[in-house]
Amino acid sequence: MLAYTAKRLLTLIPTLLAASILVFLFVHLIPGDPAAILLGDTATPEEVAQLSAEMGFDRPLHVQYFIWLGNVLQGDLGTSIFFRQPVLSVIGSGAETSILLASMTMIWIILIGLPIGILSATRQGTWIDQITSSGAMLAASIPTFWLGLYLIMIFSVTLGWFPSSGFPSLSDHGGITNLRYLLLPSLTLAAPNAALIVRLVRASMLDVSREDHVRTARAKGLHPTRVAIKHIFRNALIAVAAAFGFTFAALISEAVVTETVFSLPGIGRLVVQSILRRDYPVIQGVILVIVVLYMVVNLAVDLAYARLDPRVSLK
């Protein structure tokens, strides 16, 4: 297991390097002088020339890359044009919201997706299966922005149970109860992904239930519930674990929409605003952070995979 982990960590390095080159080139791929782009329409030629020299845009591209990479490795992602602050601290200010939102969403996906998927598979063909399967289909088809707006209308505007927008930090007044601000957004984000997991759990469990070893388990005289959980679900989990990596990728893009709908001060909304403000260093920084995060999550999924399936790590 340790050797496998080390091997997987090593394979991250070339991927990270490739990603860093793409992120670095991002500013240079936009046609025109990067300094002019960074400064916007109102800049004078003198200002452009000054920034160009300051940022090193007049040097050869590969030199610029290594300087940039050196800075990144030291935690310096540049300075936000809009905020006049280091990019890292701008991203950091949105991190609390986004991390809490993502965690709550993941918890919903697991709490809703797995049990309903198991129920649907073990009651295959009954009315329970019909209801859960069509419910999952519906949840998977609803666009997140639409669901978000609907939840706001019902639970915030009409019923007044939950706040409709914003998120004060957990360290602010209200403490842990501030999580109620994230309830509707996290449910919105979780719905389509939980639906996906429901369908996946159901399909994999039905697949596994036809395997020979399940017949062996039944021949032991085990209770059907034990056969379903310990033998069928446990094997189905291997396929489901792999899907969590994709779910995470989907979460990132869906979070951009959801944070905008619910006006949450998270990284998703930061990206949208930075694009509108042409704050390229921030966009660059966020992309880099997301790439690293995505790779870490997928590494975790791979390790979980090896842990779930003893046939993997030994190869």
């Binding site: 062996t216 021949a219 779930l308 003893p310 046939r311």
Partner: protein, 324 residues
């Protein structure tokens, strides 16, 4: 009273809203320490019969429509699910045709044996583990105290089948049902597994129902034989008697299709045609389209089970005429 008594067992498959009979009027019994072989081609209903005895007929599509199965004095078909489960894997155990896939790939083999033991016996995990090691050494797995922690993919097909046997024997069953236990194995491994089963039977007095399409395997290991064709037992007798005088043309056809090393025959005899599918409606004897002795009578009337010799029953209108 025999340990296992199957009487007039009927099994039907539901397809397209119709119930098609796949096993009809099958009867046999097995005593302690006795081995019954059930032989026949694919699709003759032998595996379904075994699954029905074990209680593993799955779902709503295949079900028992008649007859009864008595085991150790109990009527199995009237027991509750819970009572039935307390017998499965305990007093009655089964091993399957596919050793490569019959073990759960994500659990260590020891844990899979322990699960079976602790399902039926009050034992701590440590006690059950000791018992698992003991069982593995009984089925001649080398280094059992280490191999108990192996995963199935770390073992060969023959070893996995031994593990299945160890698991089946873990609660000292009175009846072991083996459905083509050696079909997926190499010939040399086949012999080892069959010898192992015979050896364990002598030691423990287990009754065995051995299902096979291989008359050679049956003749070497079984005390008595039931030959099945399209859902019916067409011939049944003690092994010696059956091979001394084959009363049914199908049994004879099966035997003639086995190559014999020392013979001068250039061509092997094959039974012409194939087993009719369930959808094909057949009148009379199910074997008549393939039978060399067929007459008008065979096409119209189903032969009843008759006693050919004492203890040797057959379903054929012309049973006497096929004797060598």
């Amino acid at each position: 009273m025999a340990l296992l008594e199957v009487q007039d067992l009927e099994i039907a498959v539901r397809t397209k809203g119709k119930l098609l009979p796949v096993v009809q009027g099958v009867s046999f019994d097995v005593d302690d320490n006795e081995t019954l072989g059930i032989v026949g081609e694919s699709g003759c209903g032998k595996s379904l019969t075994a699954l029905a005895i074990m209680g593993l007929l799955g779902g709503t599509t295949v079900r028992i429509t008649g007859g009864n199965i008595r085991f150790d004095g109990m009527d199995l078909l009237t027991l509750s699910d819970g009572e039935r489960r307390s017998i499965m894997g305990n007093r009655m155990a089964m091993i399957f045709q596919e050793p490569m896939t019959s073990l759960n790939p994500v659990y260590r083999i020891g844990d899979q044996i322990i699960e079976n033991i602790r399902q039926h016996q009050k034992m701590t995990n440590a006690q059950a583990r000791d018992r698992a090691v003991e069982l593995l050494s009984l089925v001649r797995i080398p280094n059992p105290s280490e191999r108990v922690d192996s995963f199935p993919h770390q073992m060969s097909g023959g070893q996995r089948q031994r593990v299945m046997i160890a698991m089946a024997l873990s609660c000292d069953p009175k009846l072991l049902i083996a459905d083509e236990p050696t079909t997926a194995l190499d010939v040399t491994v086949q012999k080892e597994v069959l010898d192992l089963m015979a050896d364990l039977q002598t030691r423990m007095g287990t009754a065995i129902v051995l299902i096979s399409h291989d008359l050679g395997v049956i003749s070497e290991t079984c005390d008595k034989v039931a030959v099945m064709y399209r859902g019916r037992v067409v011939e049944a007798a003690a092994t010696e008697n059956l091979f001394a005088e084959l009363a049914h043309p199908y049994t004879r056809g099966l035997l003639n299709s086995i190559p014999v090393v020392d013979s001068d025959v250039d061509w092997l005899e094959a039974i012409p045609g194939r087993v009719p599918t369930l959808e094909e409606e057949l009148t009379g004897c199910a074997f008549h389209p393939r039978c060399a002795l067929v007459t008008k009578l065979c096409a119209t009337s189903v032969p009843q089970e008759t006693e050919y010799k004492p203890g040797h029953s057959v379903r054929c209108h012309f049973s006497g005429k096929v004797a060598p």
